[in-house]
Amino acid sequence: MKEESNKDLIQVMDPDGRIVDKSALKAIKESDMLEMYRLMNFTRLWNSKALSLQRQGRMGTLASVRGQEASNVGMGLALGPEDWFCPSFREYGAMFARGIRPEELYRYWGGDERGARPLEGSRVMPVCITVGSHLLHAAGIAWGAKIRGERIAVMSSSGDGSTSQGDFHEALNFAGVFKLPVVFAIQNNHWAISVPVEKQTASETLAEKACAYGIRGARVDGNDIIAVYSTVKKLLDVARSDYRPALVELVTYRMDDHTTADDASRYRTKEMLAPWQGKDPIDRLRKYLSAEHGWDDQKEKGLIEELTAEVEQCVKEYEGAPHPPPEQIFEHTYAELPWHLREEREELLQQVGDAEK
């Protein structure tokens, strides 16, 4: 196993919650940190409940985000109110930070397309499963904003695997040439399903790829939410004011399987996982809050209880909502259904009709 590179890694807080760069803390209030802590915990509880629902046959599938909560929530909170966000599919924390309703994401993973409807005013694009294609969407939105003279920034988030896609090259090159207000965040969670990042690229870091496109690159400890938040925020500010695009690599780790249909133990050893067990993003912030802001067990217990109840409420709303009509799966792709899908649709409706008789 390759030694984890620490090259140019931006860190504010070490894994024990000790501050290594005090200057970054100046711009962050205690209430901001509590909000980060709350959202990270909510994301984790929401995620583990979804996994449980899936294993009970109550949810279609899920791409677990455990371990990446700091990258998620940090970048989501860093976005300005008018900024756009183009997620892939492992950014629940960032989407919650933008106001996306958690029960809607349950619906999405439960197979109900209505859960993918963009929330009006959130400026969050729908989940993008196609790897890397949304980097181009982000570049396009940024270009449009620049042409209209709007002072906004756009951010995409994708995984390490997306950096091997042609779309990644096109989007970064375009952003560099046209000087677009866009930040491409890469959650380097070390795995593209079963392909480790060492096999993804021969570059030492993903951030250094920015160099080739003439844009700024930054590499951040993705399990350090303060570093994620402050770095991404700075990059977004510069993108917005100076039209300077950037690539930011958030170094984190996917602690679970790729999705519920995967079994990471087939390609990932315990030894690989071990170094990351001690770098948990939530533990880290809790240690800091305990040491510096009087966070204690009672507050912790109260928060977890409150968030668990919120999650249970989401489950109720998700499971209580009427099922989508079965023919929904045929909608939204074709304006006019091709013959084979028309045939399938008719067959399905007939069977549903028969079953209801």
Binding site: G57, A261, G320, P322
Partner: protein, 434 residues
């Protein structure tokens, strides 16, 4: 209340799983979302959390057992209150009809289900449900094309999915009800499968599509279905060519290009009328000969996209100039791809005038489900014997390929003789042809 935790589809389309280990024993109390059993699917080993809080009442399996999606994994005795809440939650959706989960493919499989069911309800999941067969649209189309009822095909793919191969095998297994014209290409595995063309040098691949693909299918079907016989003859067209030359200006004055092909079509129509067997088809399904009271002759036409066969209708009822006019229009439409599909259908016989390009002999392939095709080759001046003298005449070779299931050599001979007589003596056409 007793609640049953059934095996859900935990892996995007698994059908069954093996029990690795139960993490609880009968009598244990369990919390909701507590892991209770570890299972192995073909994708992963996963731990399943209980959807219910309560006491383990029954463990119906042992480690090593294989269970299907929908089978009971665990029975849990819940507190009544908790159970009521559950019921309330589940019954809320307005669109939900009385539960018949086994018959509702549109709904995701229900892992959570009460054991106390009225007996009048649908049968339990364990009895094989009448499911929609699984097959891709491509396989379904293949089945339609081969005349196979996909509902009776046994699937060998994952979760009983029907594969193309299953459909093809079903074709070969049902001799009593032969499918409509199975194609050679469809029945056998492609002979070129796994053939390494690149081994011998660089290659270039172009997909077979459109007209070309259609020709490939039709020809393969024809050759694999029809026992072909080719009957050769030649006609002395010396006088006919003189007639064509003489009447050409009349035709041109009406904007029509007159060629020997129109005469050939007319002569063939006369032959077909006299020998209706040659104008028939074999209904392979019923084993009946279908005699047609109409004579529509397809004319094989070379186009950029490949061979097309536009059909001149009612040739027996048209004058030679009318036939020539039709031919002219149809071949133009075929060449610039504006031809209607209807103009390519309904032929009862085909003429291919390969001679326009060249060649002395050919053995054309019959356009299934017709039973014969006539090829006219290049007419050339040749020394022939007339009244014991060698003279120079313009001879046109003819080949009739025929379906030996329907016609014999004698039928073919008589037909060709008649066509030949008319071609050799154009006046006969005037006298004898309607």
């Amino acid at each position: 209340m007793r609640e049953v935790f059934r095996l859900p589809d935990v892996g995007e389309g698994i059908a069954q799983a093996e029990i690795v280990e139960y993490l609880v024993n009968v009598g244990d109390s369990v919390k909701a979302d507590q892991n209770v059993v570890r299972i192995e699917t073909d994708k992963a080993v996963v731990e399943l959390p209980s959807p219910f809080a309560g006491t383990v009442a029954e463990i119906p399996h042992e480690p090593g057992d294989t269970v299907n999606v929908g089978d009971a994994l665990l029975v849990i005795e819940t507190e009544a209150k908790a159970a009521e809440e559950k019921t309330e939650q589940r019954e809320k959706p307005a669109t939900e009809k009385p539960e018949k989960p086994e018959k509702r493919p549109a709904e995701r499989p229900r892992a959570v289900e009460k054991t106390e069911k009225p007996t009048a309800e649908a049968p339990p999941a364990e009895t094989a449900p009448a499911e929609r067969v699984m097959a891709t649209p491509h396989t379904r189309r293949l089945a339609r094309e081969l005349g196979v009822d996909i509902n009776i095909v046994k699937g060998s793919g994952p979760h009983g999915r029907i594969t193309d191969e299953d459909v093809r095998q079903a074709v070969s297994r049902v001799p009593s009800a032969p499918p409509k014209a199975p194609t050679a290409a469809a029945v056998q595995a492609p002979a070129t499968a796994g053939f390494d063309f690149e081994k011998y040098g660089p290659t270039r691949r172009v997909p077979l599509k459109g007209v070309r693909k259609r020709i490939a299918e039709v020809m393969a079907r024809s050759v694999s279905t029809i026992p072909h016989v080719a009957h050769f003859d030649e006609a002395d067209v010396t006088e006919l060519l003189q007639v064509v030359a003489r009447e050409r200006s009349l035709a041109e004055s009406r904007g029509i290009k007159l060629t020997i092909l129109s005469f050939l079509a007319k002569a063939a129509a006369a032959g077909l009328k006299k020998h209706p067997m040659v104008n028939s088809s074999l209904d392979e399904e019923t084993g009946e000969l279908v005699f047609k009271d109409y004579i529509n002759i397809g004319i094989a036409t070379d186009t950029e996209a490949g061979l097309m066969v536009p059909v001149v209708r009612d040739v027996d009822r048209k004058s030679i100039l009318e036939i020539a006019a039709d031919l002219q229009e149809l071949s133009k439409k075929a060449r610039d791809r504006t031809i209607d599909l209807e103009d390519l259908r309904g032929g009862t016989f085909t003429i291919t005038n390969v001679g326009a390009i060249g060649g002395t002999w050919a053995t054309p392939i019959i356009l299934h489900p017709q039973v014969a095709i006539l090829a006219s080759m290049r007419a050339t001046k040749r020394p022939v014997v007339r009244d014991d003298h060698v003279v120079v005449r313009t001879m046109m070779p003819l080949t009739l390929s025929f379906d030996h299931r329907v016609l014999d050599g004698a039928d073919s001979g008589r037909f060709i003789n008649h066509v030949k007589e008319l071609l050799e003596d154009p006046l006969r056409m005037l006298v004898d042809v309607a």
